[in-house]
Symmetry: C2
Subunit: 169 residues, 2 copies
């Protein structure tokens, strides 16, 4: 059994997989609008949707339990997908697990990130990722993604005889 | 001086101006994904961007103070704009003020809504609205809107000799 430990989430570390949504980033423009009453942290990420409509949805996700054996990953080849904690669970934080790989995820490339309170993420199109990993209970996320999600989903289940990988936090 | 009082925000009452982002709505599909660990409240709203890119940004807005005299409204003719409270202020609630009108807002049509904790909103393209009205301090919002906001902004300042309208909460 191989152990996967979460790394801190920064724009630099997460860049191969997407973008971090937070006000703390220093790599993008920010400017005042509304007569100075609003600071706009502009264009933290761009939605990818390949010409399809972009939807605003809410995901309510319950914990798989931790530690978590990583049995599968999924990806959305035609669009990005963002997760921003909202509501009473906005400050709970969560974990994401990602991997590189063209036709299937390369298990040697698995990485985990801890999404801290106040952060959100946007997975780039085609990035292999585990369904959202909530610490405990349930958590709500605002999700921005491409319409027609059913046609935009690929799942990969790691074969039973491969070395197991477990997320420990 | 005319007084404007906020109404409760429901999908039905807000429909002429956009959509309410919340899990409590009963007028849209919701279904389980991720092996039953996630409930997807699907397509609560659709982003309008007229062929331009869609951006994820964060607005950090401070209060104008309350009660608030409504001196101007703005609209984005080419795209929708969503506001979902995030971070430490996710449960603060806020107020929106909207109006109908083609070339300019009709002051007789002004309405205010109280966006309760756990709710967000998506203004439809072209809807006259006041910049976000925060109760006190500062509040952070995830904003989903069209790229190139400068070309997508119209502002209307109510003439001084018109009857003043004040939002009271």
């Amino acid at each position: 059994m191989k152990t996967l430990l979460p790394e801190p989430l920064t724009q630099q570390s997460f860049a191969p997989f997407g973008d971090v949504l937070e006000t703390g980033r220093l790599d993008h423009p920010t400017y005042a609008i509304n007569d100075g009453f609003t600071q706009r942290y502009h264009g933290l990420s761009t939605v990818q949707a390949e010409g399809e409509a972009v939807l605003l949805s809410i995901f309510e996700t319950r914990s798989f339990g931790l530690p978590l054996r990583i049995k599968m990953l999924e990806r959305h080849p035609l669009g990005s997908q963002s997760f921003i904690p909202i509501g009473t669970t906005a400050l709970s934080g969560f974990y994401v697990v990602v991997a590189r790989g063209q036709n299937e995820p390369d298990p040697r490339s698995l990485r985990a990130f801890e999404v801290a309170p106040g952060q959100g993420i946007n997975f780039a199109a085609g990035v292999w990722h585990h369904p959202n990993i909530v610490r405990s209970g349930t958590q709500q996320f605002l999700v921005v993604d491409r319409a027609d999600p059913a046609s935009n989903l690929e799942e990969f289940f790691f074969p039973e005889n491969w070395e197991a990988v477990e997320l420990q936090v």
